[in-house]
């Protein structure tokens, strides 16, 4: 079949026409981050103020709410591609000036992005370093389309790959294409996607029924790429799932979304309904024999459900506890049927691979890690947000070029990658290529791509304790080493941060870590000790300082802090007492104040509030 004979061509032309009729499109981010910064009100006001406005290009203007642009730090974000304007930190009160700028073609100067290094103002999106150094493929449409309008998706060739696949390819050819692309699972494990598809395709189902499940239970704290795809470009995910369904022989699918993502759930529901209406999902898609329906299952808050067998248990309405493998889900998964489980980002790459070819995808990345990877860049960097770079990009490029370096001129200390299953990278890893295998070698893992940057004020032991606290409370309790071991590791870490530990405890930590790794059924337990092991390896001295000197070098561990007021410097202004959240500061006006150490929660609010620098920490 010739590409021009595809039925979708007609739909593409119709959609493109509808979009052209919108005139100058003003994209306002309506992702979770920008909504928190008031973007919904801005959208409403812009719509109201934009009626009858004639733009500099002599067109009408249309306000388009989009998904996440990734640059959440600068929200609310607004992009007007036709005029090459990018506005950052937009507020409701800026609307009249924005309208004026659309009429005149002269940008509102103060809303333009200022480069943190050169101090230059930049209007064009593609010239902002944060975007310029990225290579957006799975996120390529997020922020550039209206996720609640299928015309936007169809006009930019979404669902074209699906039709191409079902009309011109055999399932075997589809699986081969995915194999050849070298795509590996983006949810953490990094298992070759093509092989998973092959196993599910080959599996015999007792009734002929097979399922596709999309894992949208993005539980790693500090990761939000899946949320962005589901909120910003839901059709790409649906298309990827349908292609997967065709390849493995499934006609029904579930998307398991965590309940903490209400907006993603809403947008997915809208997208599914619109796709069914256009016959792009549902019965006999585009007049072919292939039918495919997608349901949404809301999670209920359990990290372990990110593990595929636990996720299946949860969809079946049970406690989300992992099951032994084998049997693998490919042979016996959801409701006992062969099931393909892939993560959101993995599936979002599928339509692009089918459209552009396996060799296009394989041309990006490194020898064993192909394509691009999204990272949620957060913590103490100047530009926090969601980024996408080719596999093998170095940590230095990510933190210093795209991230714009460390905030407030502080020093880089470590980057925590891969969430609670991952590890810490230090200064000596800055030139390490970020790919599956290099990271494993360095004692970390790519995980889902959460990348939290820490500066000299972050206590490494506290961070390790933070992750252990997380895995301990999320352990489902099935395997004793994980259930009891994480509890004991947490206890030891807690003692260290309180100055109550002994040097022998460090050996005990390592021993417990090994037992948990060896004796746990699922990934949660197997990887739970990673943050402790990697920090012990790279920041051993910091552990020792807590234990031997009863000192927290970063000044974070509150039990090791004492805050006192210098009676000579204190003027008795009462500001500290008024700001103390614990009511721990007493004193008469114009007389030196005192801190009740028993009540003090060591938050440091008084230190930052004191106008006379009379409060010090020892």
């Amino acid at each position: 079949m010739e590409p021009n004979e595809l039925k979708i061509r007609e739909k593409q032309a119709e959609s493109a026409e509808k979009i052209a009729a919108q005139g100058t499109r003003v994209f306002v981010c309506a992702g979770t981050g920008c909504v928190a910064n008031g973007s919904l009100e801005i959208i409403e006001k812009l719509k109201e103020a934009g009626i009858n406005v004639q733009t500099i290009q002599e067109k009408k203007m249309t306000v388009v709410p989009t998904g996440c642009h990734g640059f959440c730090e600068k929200g609310a974000l607004m992009v007007i591609p036709d005029l090459h304007f990018t506005y950052t930190k937009v507020k409701l009160s800026d609307v009249p000036e924005i309208i004026e700028s659309i009429k005149t073609g002269v940008p509102v100067d103060r809303l333009l992005y200022v480069d943190p290094i050169t101090n230059e103002k930049i209007a064009k999106n593609e010239e902002i370093n944060f975007y310029a150094k990225q290579h957006r493929t799975s996120l390529c449409n997020c922020g550039h389309i209206n996720p609640e309008d299928i015309d936007d998706a169809v006009a930019i060739r979404e669902y074209e790959a699906l039709e191409k696949v079902i009309r011109t390819m055999t399932p075997e050819e589809v699986v081969k294409e995915i194999m050849d692309s070298g795509l590996r699972g983006r949810g953490g494990g990094g298992f070759p996607t093509g092989r998973k598809w092959m196993f599910t395709q080959a599996a015999k189902s007792p009734t002929g029924k097979k399922y596709v499940v999309c894992n949208g239970d993005e539980g790693d704290p500090g990761a939000f790429m899946d949320r962005s795809v589901m909120e910003g470009d839901p059709h790409k995910l649906l298309e990827g799932m349908a292609i997967a369904g065709f390849a493995v022989g499934a006609d029904e699918a579930y998307i398991y979304v965590r309940a903490e993502y209400p907006l993603a759930i809403k947008r997915l529901r809208i997208a599914i309904a619109q796709a069914e209406e256009r016959n792009l999902l549902g019965k006999n898609i585009l007049g072919t024999d292939f039918s495919f329906s997608i349901h949404i299952k809301e999670g209920a808050g359990a990290f372990v459900c990110g593990e595929e067998t636990a996720l299946i248990a949860s969809i079946e309405g049970e406690r989300g506890m992992p099951r032994p493998k084998p049997p693998f889900p490919a042979n016996k998964g959801l409701f006992g049927m062969p099931t393909l489980i892939n993560n959101v980002e993995t599936l979002a790459n599928v339509p692009l691979i089918m459209l552009n070819g396996a060799s296009w995808f394989a041309s990006m990345g490194t020898e064993k890690s192909k394509g691009t990877k999204t990272f949620a860049l957060t913590g103490e960097v100047n530009n926090t947000g969601l980024i996408e770079v080719p596999m093998g990009t170095t940590l230095r490029e990510v933190i210093f070029d795209i991230g714009g370096g460390i905030r407030n001129g502080k020093k880089f200390k470590a980057a925590q990658i891969g969430g609670p299953s991952g590890g810490c990278l230090t200064e000596k890893h800055l030139d390490l290529p970020l790919d599956y295998d290099s990271l494993i070698q360095a004692g970390a893992m790519i995980g889902s791509g959460g990348l939290v940057v820490m500066n000299e004020d972050t206590c490494i032991v506290d961070t390790a304790k933070f992750f252990m606290n997380f895995t301990q409370s999320e352990s489902c309790g099935k395997c004793v080493p994980c259930r009891e071991g994480t509890k004991n590791m947490l206890k030891i870490l807690d003692n260290i941060t309180k100055g109550k530990a002994k040097m022998e405890d460090l050996d005990l930590l390592q021993e417990l870590a090994r037992s948990i790794q060896a004796g746990s059924l699922c990934g949660l337990g197997k990887t739970a000790p990673n943050p402790v092991l990697s920090t012990l390896k790279y920041f051993y001295d910091e552990y020792v300082a807590h234990i031997k000197e009863k000192r927290c070098p970063a000044g974070v561990c509150s039990a090791l802090r004492t805050i006192t007021i210098d009676a000579d410097k204190c003027k008795g202004c009462t500001k500290c007492a008024r700001n103390c959240p614990a009511g721990a500061i007493k004193g008469e006006i114009r007389k030196a104040h005192e801190i009740d150490q028993a009540k003090c929660i060591k938050c440091g609010a008084c230190i930052s509030n004191c106008p006379f620098k009379a409060i010090k920490e020892a």
Binding site: T32, G33, A36, N37, F71, C72, E73, G75, E218, G219, D220, P221, G222, A223, F224, R227, A259, E260, Y261, K297, E298, G299, A300, G301, A302, F303, S314, I315, E316, G317, E318, R319, G320, F335, A376, T378, G379, E380, T384, G385, L386, Q416, G419, G450, V452, M454, T458, T463, F466, F467, F470, E474, N579, P581, A582, G583, I601, C603, G604, A605
Partner: protein
């Protein structure tokens, strides 16, 4: 705020509308919690009986997932994010400030007047705005102990004004 009088007919109609299959149990519990603001124990038993699964199984599921609460939640449900990004940017001082502001002793998660309840969540996916607090469905970005105290004051004042 006293919990709603429990009319179990509502539970029945939720089960009927969602569908009487075990795979719908979590969705049913979510609907019931949305209706009553928590999961009353009578409702759990009713769900088990009506769906033909043991109440112990229902209880097991209800206590496994952190979204479900067997205690009534406050009118304003404060979720303080303690994901990695929020933690690194100081979510603990914010959480402490909320607890002190609400006068919550250790082990208590809701105020006596039923106005506020507090929980920590592991990540809301708004890491670019860390630290984040969510009250009901509204996201409050880049929180500090001072900002959150003022927000709580504002809510209290508004409630008293009504």
């Amino acid at each position: 705020m006293s919990p709603k009088t429990i009319c179990l007919d509502k539970v029945d109609s939720i089960i009927d509308s969602v569908g009487n299959k075990q795979s719908n149990l979590i969705a049913i519990l979510q609907h019931v919690q949305a209706e009553y603001n928590y999961l009353p124990s009578d409702a759990l038993v009713r769900i088990g009986v009506k769906m033909g699964i043991s109440p112990a199984t229902v209880y097991g599921v209800a206590t496994f997932y952190s979204q479900f609460s067997l205690e009534p939640k406050g009118k304003y449900q404060i979720k303080c994010c303690d994901g990695t990004a929020c933690h690194v940017r100081g979510s603990n001082p914010v959480l402490n400030a909320i607890r002190v502001k609400l006068g919550l002793e250790d082990g208590k998660y809701s105020t006596k007047d039923g106005l506020f309840s507090i929980e920590t969540v592991s990540c809301l996916g708004a890491c670019g705005l860390a630290p984040v607090v969510v009250i009901n469905d509204k996201v409050y970005p880049q929180m500090t102990p001072d900002k959150i105290k003022k927000t709580i004051d504002d809510i209290r004042n508004e409630e008293e004004g009504e």
